[in-house]
Amino acid sequence: MNFSLSESQLLIQKTVRDFAQNELAPIAADLDKEARFPHEIIKQMAELDLFALPYSEEYGGTGDGCLPYVVAVEEISRACASTGITYAAHCSIGTDPIYLFGTEKQKQKWVGPCARGEMLAAFGLTEPNAGSDAGGTKTTAVLKNSEWLINGSKCFITNATHAGVIVISAVTEPGQGTKGISSFIVPRDTAGFSVSEPYDKLGLKASDTAELYFDDMRLPEDNLLGKRGEGFKQLLKVLDGGRISIGALALGIAQASFDAALAYARERRQFGQPISKFQAIQFKLADMATSIEMARMAVYRAAWLKDQGRATTRESSMAKLYASETAVKAALEAIQIFGGYGYMKEYPVERYLRDAKLMEIGEGTSEIQRLVIARQLGC
């Protein structure tokens, strides 16, 4: 058993932490306030090869794997969760499906540019009537004259506006339930494809979330991703990885909440002493620190398992569930420790709460995570 990061992983952590704290944290509040997508930060992240971390060298990656990537997502999200979800969605659910299930040609064409950060990727699964029940997809794809004709729409899609490539799910065999779903690679400039105005959200305001529309959208036959009818199986596997990255994102927000709360508690004086001397405040901080440490163990371990090529369905769900609930609790407690100041936009903790809440919803709600875990337990 080895609980320490390797030397190169420590260096990656330090590089990303320094970058995130120096370049991103100072502008995070403004990005949130202006709901401004951080193009310049994304470009710098690409220059640091952050998008390349999870992928092998033959497809333009650095070959570092999931654990260092997860550490990077945590550090970026600690500074700005909007940038964190942009990053996590790009890699874990945008690029990963192609990396995992693409043909050699598809991988060469798309994974390289995504790993180098030349384009962003997105994943379009959720539909107005198919959220938790992702098998209820209504979007259809019909093969005619070696072309797929696709109709339907997707909602709540991260990176929708800025993505150069989007992986979507659609029904190719109606009436066959989840066995009738297939995945497709949709290049940004495909005719018949359009994107809505961005949503006005509670949090993660600097991230790009919008709807996708497919109106008689035509795709070449070989834009089918992997095998026909295997789309649902693929997305379960993709979400196994995606949930680890949401866990990391949540961990970053939780850590940021704790950092802010501890610093504030040491400085703020009431009744002639720092409020950190009151046991009621100390216990909150002790609980926060403990849950964060537990969440980190769970998230890192799930990532490590993935790097070992082992199944992570159960561990991914546990890590995501625990880390996201930890983030929401930590952000709430941070606001409590800040008192009235915590309720004000002038301080970052209210943003942490707004951002944290999505962690309990995206890539499977907490209820769905518990369902997945229970199923894994044999219920």
Partner: protein
């Protein structure tokens, strides 16, 4: 250009509380996180910028513990080529002259044009290691350097003086420059650089390996005896100025005038 950059692993004392151990001569560093000395981070960047501009190589040299290898690898991830780490508990490490003597011993058989050090270390803050190193090697030096121009066989160094004044000096190479913070913008190591750094050479050596007589750099040789470390008592003598804003302003002004502060 062949450059050598000397870097030190120092504790970050801004976060954890500083406590002196019962021996009165060492600090409890168990709660500190360590990293590269701030000025040395700029020295690393400057050495890599010079290499990128003029070609050549950069060697890293550091005296410090095993844990400091993370710092050394980071310098290599940013573009330095190879490194030597000196580890030996017989060095009188509280005395910058002894440290400089060891650095000089590690450098003397190497070919070099330029040596960059930080202008001061954040922990002991002697501001003398780089200068002493130049003396031991018998080469030119300039301290507190805020800008470097490499010329043919020479280097032009812009030195930061008091009051925002700059002094420009030209030195024949080889030379030692002690680098001031703010001279450049240190880069973040790209992930690919971090991977390459894992394959770069890092040699760990002792005084014996360097052919340095421990008696010449140990506490017997040092003219400096570390007597005692202590944390100064905080004295607070604050005077609260009471009254209406106008009165307060008058009182404050008269205090400043009396104290010769304005």
């Amino acid at each position: 250009m062949k450059s050598i950059v000397c870097i030190k692993y120092v504790p970050d004392t801004s976060e954890a509380e500083v406590k002196v151990n019962p021996d009165g001569k060492t600090v409890d560093d168990s709660r500190f996180s360590f990293d590269i000395n701030d000025a040395d981070n700029y020295a690393v960047e400057e050495s890599v910028l010079i290499k990128e501009d003029k070609g050549g190589e950069v060697d890293v040299l550091s005296i410090g513990p095993k844990q400091s290898e993370v710092m050394i690898r980071m310098a290599m991830a940013k573009g330095c080529d190879r490194a030597v780490r000196v580890e030996d508990d017989r060095i009188a490490d509280h005395d910058p002259l002894m440290v400089a003597k060891v650095l000089a011993g590690a450098i003397k058989d190497k070919e070099f044009d330029l040596i960059l050090t930080g202008c001061w270390a954040d922990d002991y803050g002697h501001m003398s290691t780089g200068v002493a190193l130049a003396e031991y090697l018998g080469v030119n030096h300039a301290s507190m350097v805020k800008k470097v121009e490499v010329l043919d066989g020479k280097v032009r160094a812009h030195r930061e003086l008091e009051g925002g004044l700059m002094e420009v000096v030209e030195l024949e190479l080889p030379a030692v420059l002690t680098i001031q913070t703010g001279i450049n913008e240190p880069r973040y190591a790209p992930i690919r650089g971090i991977r390459q750094a894992q394959k770069k050479e890092l040699n760990v050596v002792s005084l014996d390996d360097l052919g340095i007589d421990p008696a010449e750099v140990g506490s017997e040789a040092s003219q400096v005896v570390l007597e005692n470390l202590y944390i100064p008592e905080v004295e607070s003598a604050a005077e609260f100025i009471e009254g209406e804003p106008d009165e307060k302003a008058d009182k404050l002004a008269s205090i400043l005038v009396k104290g010769g502060l304005v």
